[in-house]
C-alpha cells in the first residue's frame, strides 16, 4: 500500500476537526487508496496476461504462416538414412519439407496410429514407412490417395498396390544374425520348432515394425494357434525379448546371445563395427524369405498434392534406390538396376529378396496378429 499525498488532508477544515473524525477520514482515504492500488495491480496483471496471450497467438499465427507451404512428411525410416535423401530432394526441388520421425522404441506403428487419429484433418502429405503392412492397413481404411507416377511403373507388382495407393522401394530382409563361431544352417525353420538353447536367442518386441511383419508372416503360414503356443513357450523358456532390432543386434554382437531375429541393415551396422557376426535369411516353413520394402504413399486430402507427387516420384526413382543401396544400411533395390552398380553384399541380398512372399498377402494376417498381440501385451 502506498500513501500518496492528498491535499485534502492538510486543509484547514480537516485540521480543526476532532481526532475521531480525522481518523475516520484518514481510514477512508487509506482504504480508498488500497482499493485503488489493488485495482491498479489487478489491471496490471490483466494487461500482462493479455499481452502474453496476444504474443502467444501472434507467435502461433506467425509459425503457421511460416510453415504453411511446407510439404509434411511422416517418416518411419531411420532418420540417419532418410535425412540425407530428403535433404537431397529439398535441394533438387526447391521445396521445403517438414519431417516428423518416429521414436525407435515404437517405429512405424506410432506414425500409422497417428495418421489414423488425424484422419479427419490430416496433417501429413506423404507417409514414408519403413515397412509395408502398416501402410497397407491405412490403404484399406481409405486414408491414402492412389497415384501412379513415373516411379510406379518401375517397381514389380508384388511390392506395390495395383491402384497405386502405396508403392514399395528399397527393401530389407529379415535375417537371423548369429555369432560368427556358429556355423550357417541350411534350414533353421522357426517356428513351430523351438531351439534347444532358447535363452541364447533374441527377438524384438513383436508389437511394432518389421518384427510385427515377421509375426504376420508366421501367422499366415502356421495359423494362429501354433504361433500363439510358440510365442508363449518362447517367453516361458527364457527366450529374450528386447526393445528393438538394434538391441537384438547388440545382444548378439556383445555375446549376450548367439542368435537373433533382426533386419539386414542392423546386421550391417554390427558388421561395420567389426563385430564377429554373420547372417542368413530368415526363411518361413515354405522356404520363402521375408523382404520388407520401404513404402511411400500420399495421404488422402493432402494439402500439397503436387509437391507430394514430386516427392513420391523422387523416392521411387532409381537414383534414390541406388543411394540407399550404397548407404550403410545396404537397402535392396526393387526396381530394375544394373548389378555392377550395386555393392557386393546387396547383390547377394537381392537374390534372396527375389524369393520373398508378397506383402499384400500378409495384410489380413497382420490385422489378426496385431489384435492378438495387443491383448497379450496391453492387459
Amino acid at each position: 500500500m502506498r500513501l500518496r499525498r492528498v491535499p485534502f488532508l492538510s486543509s484547514p477544515l480537516l485540521s480543526s476537526a476532532p481526532f475521531a473524525v480525522k481518523s475516520c477520514v484518514f481510514n477512508c482515504i487509506v482504504s480508498a487508496q488500497d482499493v485503488s492500488d489493488s485495482r491498479v495491480s489487478s489491471i496490471r496483471q490483466l494487461l500482462i496476461v493479455a499481452i502474453g496471450v496476444a504474443t502467444a497467438l501472434a507467435l502461433v499465427a506467425g509459425w503457421r504462416a511460416w510453415r504453411r507451404d511446407d510439404l509434411v512428411v511422416y517418416c518411419a525410416h531411420d532418420a540417419i538414412f532418410a535425412e540425407e535423401i530428403l535433404r537431397a530432394f529439398e535441394k533438387q526441388s526447391g521445396l521445403r519439407l517438414g519431417v516428423r520421425y518416429d521414436t525407435e522404441a515404437t517405429k512405424s506403428l506410432g506414425l500409422v496410429e497417428l495418421l489414423v487419429r488425424e484422419a479427419s484433418e490430416p496433417r501429413a502429405d506423404v507417409f514414408w514407412n519403413n515397412e509395408a503392412l502398416g501402410t497397407i492397413d491405412l490403404a484399406r481404411r481409405g486414408l491414402l490417395e492412389p497415384y501412379q507416377g513415373a516411379g510406379f511403373a518401375r517397381i514389380p507388382g508384388k511390392f506395390k498396390d495395383e491402384r497405386g495407393s502405396w508403392v514399395g522401394f528399397a527393401g530389407r530382409l529379415r535375417v537371423i544374425i548369429r555369432a560368427a563361431r556358429h556355423p550357417a544352417a541350411a534350414e533353421r525353420a522357426l517356428p513351430p520348432a523351438l531351439p534347444a538353447e532358447i535363452s541364447r536367442w533374441a527377438i524384438a518386441k513383436p508389437l511394432y515394425g518389421t518384427t510385427l511383419t515377421h509375426y504376420a508372416a508366421w501367422w499366415r503360414e502356421l495359423g494362429c494357434d501354433p504361433l500363439i503356443a510358440w510365442h508363449r513357450e518362447w517367453r516361458a523358456r527364457g527366450g529374450r525379448e528386447l526393445n528393438g532390432n538394434a538391441a537384438v543386434k547388440d545382444a548378439v554382437a556383445q555375446g549376450v546371445c548367439d542368435f537373433g531375429f533382426t533386419d539386414s541393415d542392423d546386421f550391417f551396422a554390427a558388421h561395420d563395427d567389426h563385430a564377429a557376426v554373420a547372417m542368413e535369411p530368415a526363411r518361413l516353413a515354405s522356404g520363402r524369405t521375408i523382404c520388407i520394402p520401404n513404402t511411400v504413399a500420399i495421404t488422402r486430402a493432402a494439402r500439397h498434392g503436387a509437391a507430394a507427387r514430386q516427392l513420391v516420384d523422387f523416392l521411387l526413382s532409381a537414383e534414390t534406390e541406388l543411394a540407399l543401396a550404397r548407404s550403410k544400411s545396404r537397402q535392396i533395390p526393387l526396381g530394375p538396376m544394373s548389378e555392377n552398380d550395386l555393392p557386393v553384399e546387396v547383390r547377394e541380398l537381392r537374390a534372396w529378396a527375389a524369393e520373398s512372399a508378397p506383402m499384400a498377402e500378409l495384410a489380413e494376417a497382420r490385422t489378426e496378429c496385431l489384435a492378438w498381440l495387443k491383448s497379450e501385451y496391453l492387459r
Binding site: A79, R123, K249
Partner: protein, 444 residues
C-alpha cells in the same frame, strides 16, 4: 506380466526407492549441515550433479550392461540408480526443511527416557514431522512415473506399457482406463503430498550447528552418488566422443536440433518462474499436472490439442511449450519458496534504495539466476514431452539422440551426446558471466 502386476511391482519399487533415497539423503544432509566454507560449496556441487545429469546420458552409459544383465540384476541396477539420482532431493529437503526436533532435543530425550530402542525410534520418526513423508511421497512419484531409463533398458514398467498402448492405437481414454490402477495410485499419493505440503508449518533452518572438521563420510557418500550417476556416464562418453568430435564441426542437423531445444527451454523456464510467482493461492493445484509425470501429462496435452476446438493450435510449438511449463511449475514453485526463504529482506531493501547493482546481484540476482538455470536445464533435457508434442519439422536434440541411442553406442553418437550435454552448460555459464559483468560495472 499384466499391467496390474507390473504396477504392483512399480509400487513396491517406488516405496523401496523412496525409503533408500530418504535414508541416504538424511545421512548426507546431516553431514553437510556440519560443514562450512569451501567443503560445503564443493559438497553442494556434488549434491546437485546427479540432478543435473539427464536420464538419457545415464541410460546410454549403462545400456550395454542392461543388455547383458539378467532380469533380477537389471531390476537391482535400476533401483540403485534411482536411489542415487533421487537422494539429493531428500538431502535438499532435509537441509531446507529440517525436523522440528533438533539433534540436541533428540539426545535429551534419549537421556531422559528408558524406553526400548524401537520406542525411541518411533519417537524420532514422529518428531521428524511430516516433511520426510512429503518428500518420500515426491520421490515415490518420481520413481513410479519414471519412463526414460525403463524404456532404454527394456524394463517392464506401467509407463512403458502405457506408452506402448497409446502408440499401439488405443485412444487416450482407453489407454488411461488400462492404466487406471497405477494412475489412481499416483493420484492418491499426489493428493496426500499436496495436502501435507499445504498444512505444513516449516521450521527455521538450523543456525547453531557446530561445524566439524570431519568430512570423509560425507564425501564418500557424495562421491558414490556422483560416480554412478554423473561421472561414469560422462566418462563413457568422453573417450569415444574424442574420436567422433570432428563430425560436430560440420554444421548440420545436430546444431539445428540443439537450437530448438535451447529455444523451448529458454521460453519455458522464465514463463514457469513468472507463473510460480503469481499463483500463491493456487500453488497446490497448479503444480499437480507437473507431478503426474511427463508421459501422462504429454498424452493429456496431446489429446486436448487434437480436439476440434484447439486443432488450429495442434501443429504449433504451443502444446510442447505448455507441457514444459506445466512440468516445470512444481520445481519453479519449490525454487521460488527456497529463494524467498533465504532472501535477506532488510539488506535487499537497502541495496534497492542505494541502487547498487552489484549488491542486488549478490543478494538476489545470483539466486534467481541459479533457479532459472535449473529450470532451463530441466526443460532442455526433457525427452518424453518433446518426443510426443514437438511440431512437425522440429526435433529437439534429446529426442533425436534418444532414437540414435537405440542403435547402440558409437563414437559419433557419444560425441553428440557430450556436445548436447556440455553446450547448454556453456550457454548458462556465459549468461551468468555476462550478468555478473553487468552488475559489477555499476559497483560503487
Amino acid at each position: 506380466m499384466s499391467l496390474l502386476t507390473v504396477s504392483a511391482w512399480g509400487v513396491l519399487r517406488g516405496i523401496t526407492v523412496a525409503a533408500g533415497a530418504l535414508a541416504l539423503g538424511w545421512h548426507v544432509a546431516r553431514e553437510m549441515s556440519a560443514t562450512q566454507g569451501r567443503a560445503r560449496t564443493i559438497a553442494w556441487g556434488l549434491l546437485l550433479a546427479p540432478l543435473c545429469t539427464p536420464a538419457l546420458l545415464v541410460s546410454y552409459a549403462y545400456s550395454p550392461w542392461a543388455l547383458a544383465a539378467p532380469p533380477l540384476g537389471k531390476e537391482l541396477g535400476y533401483f540403485i540408480i534411482l536411489v542415487l539420482r533421487l537422494a539429493p532431493l531428500a538431502a535438499i529437503a532435509q537441509l531446507f526443511f529440517p525436523a522440528p526436533l533438533s539433534r540436541e532435543g533428540s539426545f535429551c530425550h534419549k537421556l531422559a527416557t528408558t524406553d526400548r530402542r524401537w520406542r525411541r525410534a518411533a519417537f524420532v520418526i514422529r518428531a521428524a514431522g511430516p516433511i520426510p513423508w512429503i518428500v518420500g511421497g515426491l520421490i515415490f512419484l518420481l520413481a513410479f512415473a519414471e519412463f526414460e531409463l525403463a524404456s532404454l533398458w527394456s524394463l517392464q514398467t506401467w509407463t512403458v506399457a502405457l506408452f506402448d498402448a497409446h502408440t499401439g492405437g488405443l485412444a487416450l481414454h482407453e489407454s488411461l482406463r488400462l492404466a487406471a490402477a497405477p494412475l489412481a495410485c499416483q493420484g492418491a499419493v499426489l493428493a496426500a503430498v499436496l495436502f501435507g505440503a499445504g498444512t505444513q508449518r516449516v521450521a527455521e533452518p538450523l543456525t547453531n550447528a557446530r561445524p566439524r572438521r570431519r568430512t570423509t563420510a560425507l564425501f564418500i557418500s557424495l562421491g558414490l552418488m556422483v560416480a554412478a550417476t554423473s561421472a561414469y556416464p560422462l566418462a563413457r562418453l568422453i573417450v569415444p566422443a574424442a574420436a567422433g568430435f570432428s563430425s560436430l564441426l560440420i554444421p548440420g542437423v545436430f546444431w539445428q536440433d540443439f537450437a530448438v531445444s535451447v529455444g523451448f527451454a529458454a521460453l519455458a523456464a522464465p514463463i514457469a518462474w513468472a507463473v510460480a510467482a503469481r499463483q500463491r493461492r493456487w500453488i497446490l493445484f497448479s503444480t499437480a499436472p507437473g507431478l503426474l509425470g511427463a508421459l501422462v501429462l504429454s498424452l493429456l496435452v496431446l489429446t486436448v490439442f487434437q480436439h476440434r476446438l484447439l486443432r488450429a493450435l495442434y501443429d504449433t510449438p504451443l502444446p510442447l511449450l505448455l507441457a514444459l511449463v506445466l512440468l516445470l511449475l512444481p520445481l519453479a514453485s519449490l525454487l521460488r519458496y527456497l529463494v524467498a526463504s533465504r532472501r535477506p529482506s532488510e539488506a535487499l531493501h537497502l541495496a534497492r534504495m542505494l541502487g547498487n547493482r552489484r549488491l542486488l546481484w549478490q543478494l538476489e540476482g545470483q539466486r534467481q539466476m541459479a533457479a532459472l538455470s535449473a529450470l532451463f536445464g530441466w526443460a532442455y533435457f526433457d525427452f518424453t514431452a518433446s518426443s510426443i508434442l514437438a511440431p512437425v519439422g522440429v526435433t529437439p536434440v534429446f529426442v533425436r539422440l534418444h532414437n540414435l541411442a537405440h542403435y547402440g553406442q558409437n563414437a559419433v553418437l557419444s560425441a553428440m551426446l557430450l556436445g548436447a550435454f556440455v553446450a547448454p552448460l556453456l550457454a548458462v555459464a556465459l549468461t551468468v558471466g555476462a550478468a555478473r559483468l553487468y552488475a559489477r560495472r555499476d559497483a560503487r
